[in-house]
Assembly symmetry: C2
Homo-oligomer: 383 residues x 2
């Protein structure tokens, strides 16, 4: 049981191949654009089509939740797909996701589903401003969202949304959510094995820039919050009979965690585990789907992950900062595209904060606009 096929051949599959190779796992990926099976590290090396990929694989998994449903069905039919297509689909449809949260009594923001003007009016009546509207399908990284903050904008927002609904396929819809005045965004990455074994990494604090994750920080965390998140993880992953890595994004409101969304896969906010944990999320996902014992998930050292967005190089000087590790994805340069990430650790939070400050002083401010502010605030906090 060591041949893995990943649906999707992007950076997550690539990091799975890098993590799986030393473990003697043979990781290939189905590139949904070319409909070919490739090596994620050598994407020009082709290993046939989906049918051959399914036949050759011992287990199949996905690096993203928007896999075409006919592809998922074909994989599931082979009996090799982990997690299940149901779990993957839930990550790709906010209506299913909300239903799952409700069925598990997982606290989340008050919400309504919208397909018609009557639904929209009902949501407005039940919720108070500000409200966030999100497309049920295919939204990610802040795309497909409308924020309604002032009553003056109700008509224009509905105008845009109704045009969107009219032009979208009929399975599309919108979810209206009470915008929550949260203190922090946190996420929990965890892993579950076929036998029900669960291991979760420490909660990570996430910072976004223009709707895209810019920094994730993994540092010692309040045990009450960690327990709360772990309980939600166990409930959701148990309900789904989930196998593999599952990420849960939370809003922290006071002492309470509200689930924002879930991702049925390895997750950007878990990339820090490559340097900051015993076993990284990519290896743990592979271990879980190959039915191997799960690896340690505790924090070894405070670690931050900084996304590189839209840039295909950074100054070599960043490598002079101790414990900086570069992770490039070898993707073509494009504005707003995730091109790589930087992990940096410290023996303690103060050292990590100082290293982040140094990093911010070297990196180009246009490409990393919020990093200096983040690092300065962190230095002050850890003084």
């Amino acid at each position: 049981m060591n041949k893995v096929l990943v649906l999707g051949a992007g950076q997550l599959a690539r990091m799975m191949e890098l993590a799986g190779t030393p473990l003697n796992l043979d990781v290939k990926a189905f590139d949904v654009r070319s409909d070919k099976v490739v090596s994620p590290i050598y994407p020009d090396r082709i290993y046939g089509d989906l049918q051959q990929g399914i036949a050759n694989a011992d287990v199949i998994t996905a690096e993203f939740e928007h896999v075409k449903h006919d592809v998922l069905a074909e994989c599931e039919q082979s009996g090799k797909l982990f997690p299940t297509s149901e779990s993957i689909k839930i990550g790709g449809d906010r209506r299913l996701e909300k239903a799952l949260l409700e069925s598990c009594n997982a606290a989340n923001a008050k919400h309504y589903f919208i397909n018609t003007k009557a639904d929209f009016d009902n949501a407005l009546a039940q919720l108070s401003l500000p409200i966030i509207f999100k497309t049920a399908l295919e939204g990610y990284d802040g795309k497909g969202q409308w924020r309604l903050k002032s009553a003056a904008d109700i008509d224009s927002v509905w105008q845009e949304m109704s045009e969107f609904l009219a032009s979208a396929k009929e399975t599309q819809g919108i979810v209206a959510e009470q915008m929550v005045p949260f203190d922090r965004e946190l996420s929990l990455v965890g892993v579950r094995r076929v036998n029900g074994d669960v291991a979760v990494y420490p909660l990570t604090e996430n910072h976004h820039t223009n709707g895209i994750l810019s920094v994730s920080l993994a540092a010692p965390v309040d045990s009450q919050l960690q327990d709360q998140a772990g309980t939600v993880f166990k409930a959701l992953s148990g309900k789904l009979n989930y196998v593999g890595v599952l990420a849960i994004e939370f809003f922290q409101v006071g002492e309470q965690l509200l689930v924002n969304e879930i991702a049925p896969r390895v997750h950007n906010s878990g990339h820090w585990t490559q340097q900051g944990a015993d076993t990284c999320q990519f290896e743990n996902h592979l271990r879980a789907i190959c039915d191997l014992p799960l690896g340690g998930t505790q924090l070894i050292r405070p670690t931050a992950m900084i996304n590189i967005i839209g840039e295909d190089s950074v100054s070599d000087d960043v490598l002079s900062i101790p414990s900086v590790t570069m992770h490039w994805y070898k993707k073509g340069k494009r504005a707003g595209r995730k091109m790589g990430h930087i992990n940096v650790s410290g023996d303690n939070e103060q050292q990590l904060a100082e290293r982040l400050q140094k990093l911010a002083s070297i990196l180009c401010k246009q490409a990393f606009p919020d990093l200096a502010d983040f690092a300065n605030a962190y230095v002050n906090k850890t003084k």
Copy 2:
């Protein structure tokens, strides 16, 4: 400057490719058996012959010191070879190695060179038993050695050695060394950049079984010994104007370190750095030869490396021990062959010792004959 050609396509080149890929380095290897350039991870993927490999590369390096001299000359002529062919050759010829040590005043065992019976008699007169005789060229992992412990064996040892010399090519020779009653075998892995920057990892304690490294232990080390080793590293690497990772094996005799041998490359006793240090030896070697800033070399956590010799699988149960990381080389099974290694860390030495004991209880005793004794002694020492 990101295309690297490694001379030799074994596990060291493979781990360089795995370490270099996230750093955006393109690592290929010249397979000296097939005379083809390949991907070390996908050795059936061919990128032409040596000439093409040299032309395509920005920098060239070696994973072993026994590269044919005409190949080294061809690479050096391109101006891309790091370290120099002189440094690589020194690692492959004990006579050059000893001359280097003498020129740097690096303490080492008393020794004589032997090509004739007169040389042999002279060595016997100058040294006391026990004496170890090592072939000057091509010996490794305990091969090509004779140990003379009793005067009764002088004739039979000379008989074997003279037959060896008669049948060997004329550049061959033998080095007679005073066998040293050492306390421990230690090694220092360090790295030097073109600009003279040097970084060294902590000294590692090495244990051999049947002449092959079985366990390396990286744990906090006496600073006097570390300084002594660092001074030798700076002297040797400076003398050679060395670029890349260089390993120095020592005998510890009381408070003194005697150089046993040097390896002008990444080294088996540095594999623990993949989990126990900020930047592993493979990445630091690549950083050095690509003229990038060196990464941190300090010990993050006590870490041990266990070689897997002659076995192509171990029980999956070892993965249930926290912080165990497997590194398989994907080589065909053969008795005595290094097939992979296991890294295991602990938050402190006591925890590491307990994990080693657990590992020993799971691993097959025939394949890991000395591990249980080592682990038990370490548990007692750290209690």
